[in-house]
């Protein structure tokens, strides 16, 4: 729960990275993702991690990224152990487990610094169908609402004697029924009300709706994007041209 909240939910912050055009942020995240995925030596990974952590520092989100690292550490260790059995090499296993962490951080960087509004903007500029974009943004908007619903449902059922902690696995799954059904039912009711509200405010009246906010990229955005592309190409080149030992 907290892992998700810490690492992937947006919070408004004033920083040079946050204020970049979201498409540029996506580009940078994607580049870091690819670079992490294809890194194969500890040095390479160390450099990539250092870069990402400095971006995080500049964006004032170091603490949250740090927390994500800690929560992902468990799974990372698991990967390490599995690989140890498979490859019997400490170094390879280390690479795999650190690579996992790097991938997580690269995606996390994007989501922490990009508001749902900007996400919508990115999706629109990718020319995704309007209904898809709307369904996505509405879903994101209602996440906090659903979380609150879930808490209230659990409270109500606990007050009727439901013991959520006790019991073996099968029992515990059965116990989720009194929580899941109201959650689903509420969501269905909510969707119905949303549909009515949408209709009443002329959703779907025109095929190309206008937008209150206009987004355009600044010179800075373009420079940063270009700069990152150059770095990306250089890095890939180095990977390929100068394969370093582990």
């Amino acid at each position: 729960m907290y892992w998700v909240a810490g690492g992937f939910i947006f919070r408004r912050v004033n920083s040079p990275f946050h204020s970049l055009d979201p498409r540029v942020k996506l580009l940078i995240s994607a580049e870091l993702f690819v670079v992490s995925l294809t890194a194969y030596s500890v040095t390479q990974l160390a450099v990539v991690m250092a870069v990402m952590l400095s971006i995080a520092a500049v964006s004032k989100i170091l603490k949250r990224v740090g927390r994500t690292l800690i929560f992902s550490a468990g799974f990372s260790v698991f990967i390490f152990v599995i690989n140890l059995f498979a490859s019997h090499s400490l170094l390879t296993s280390a690479v795999y487990s650190v690579r996992f962490l790097a991938i997580i951080i690269s995606t996390s960087l994007f989501f922490i610094t990009t508001s749902p509004d900007e996400l919508e903007q990115v999706m629109k500029s990718a020319h995704l169908p309007r209904d898809v974009v709307f369904a996505f943004t509405t879903a994101v908007r209602f996440i906090p609402v659903l979380m609150l619903d879930a808490i209230q449902i659990v409270d109500a059922q606990k007050s009727r004697g439901l013991e959520v902690e006790k019991g073996n696995l099968i029992r515990r799954v059965r116990k989720m029924v009194p929580v899941l059904i109201p959650l689903v039912v509420n969501s269905v009711i909510r969707s119905g009300e949303l549909a009515e509200a949408m209709e009443s405010r002329a959703y779907g009246a025109v095929s190309r709706p206008t937008s209150l906010q206009r987004y355009s990229s600044t010179k800075r955005d373009k420079l940063v994007a270009a700069g990152s592309l150059i770095l990306f190409i250089i890095t890939v080149y180095i990977y390929v041209r100068f394969p370093t030992p582990l």
Binding site: D155, K158, S159, G161, L162, P182
Partner: protein, 270 residues
């Protein structure tokens, strides 16, 4: 029966919802907790069945500290009817819904049947015994949630905003149910901002504002204190307001307020 000792509660978000609350509720008392939305009323009652544990201070139910027991254990004695029926109805039938809690508490088969029959009959839901709870109307759902709580016969019954969205007829019925609870010796706590509903019941009134208990006394007395109500953003019952207005002028008809009734005598009454 219920005791709050210097209770302070701070949310995870950092917001202090209850401050230095001291409150004692005796067995069979009827209490109404009033205050604006956000004053801490619901937070207060959630401490009684252990859904929330105090950040500072102690909450005792029947002499036992709530931090030593789970909500499920405390619920055996303390039943809370929450505002939204859609947050709890889930069973395939009204019968299954009503017996859910009793099964959780481990009641015997005979006792469950007995209480089930009583509850369905009392709340007029017998005809829906085998129907799906989700197919009922809004008013019926509300009755069902009450039936589910009263079925296991808790000593303490807490109603959280029971009149929200209810029409006049439903409120009448609710009033009757609360009076029944009082007469059968249950400790009743009603959280509400509907003063017109509360006043005729003449409960002990606890006024909350910004996490504190700012007044605690008979409804009759407290409802006349305009300053108090203003400060807590609570409305005065209309008849009490009328009484205050009439009392302002020395030559006005003699008026008194007693037992939730307004008595007007003197020159006016023919």
């Amino acid at each position: 029966m219920i005791e709050f000792r210097d209770v302070t509660f701070v949310h995870q978000t950092g917001k202090t919802a209850l401050r230095d609350v001291n409150l004692k509720v005796e067995k069979a008392e009827m209490l109404a907790v009033v205050g604006e939305n956000g004053a801490g009323k619901t937070t207060l009652v959630k401490h009684v069945n252990g859904l929330l544990k105090p950040t500072k201070g102690t909450v005792l139910v029947d002499g036992e500290d709530t931090t030593t027991k789970s909500t499920a254990e405390l619920s055996r004695k303390v039943g809370i009817a929450f505002q939204n029926p859609d947050h709890q109805l889930f069973s395939e039938s009204v019968e299954a819904e009503t017996t859910f809690a009793m099964k959780n508490f481990g009641f015997s088969r005979e006792l469950i049947d007995q209480r089930l029959n009583w509850a369905l009959q009392f709340f007029g839901l017998e005809e829906y015994r085998n129907s799906s709870p989700l197919a009922l109307s809004g008013g019926e759902k509300k009755r069902l949630t009450l039936a589910c709580i009263l079925a296991w016969d808790p000593e303490v019954v807490i109603l959280d905003e029971p009149t929200v969205g209810q029409d006049a007829i439903q409120k009448e019925k609710l009033s009757g149910i609360i009076k029944m609870l009082r007469s059968t010796g249950k400790t009743t706590i009603i959280v509400s901002h509907d003063v017109e509903f509360i006043w005729p019941l003449q409960p002990r009134l606890v006024v909350m504002s910004q996490g504190r208990v700012v007044a605690d006394g008979p409804a009759d007395t407290l409802m006349r204190d305009e300053g108090l109500l203003e400060g807590a953003r609570v409305m005065q019952p209309q008849l009490v307001e009328l009484y205050q207005r009439l009392r302002r002028r020395p030559d006005s008809p003699f008026a008194s307020v007693n037992d939730a009734r307004l008595w007007i005598t003197g020159p006016v009454v023919s």
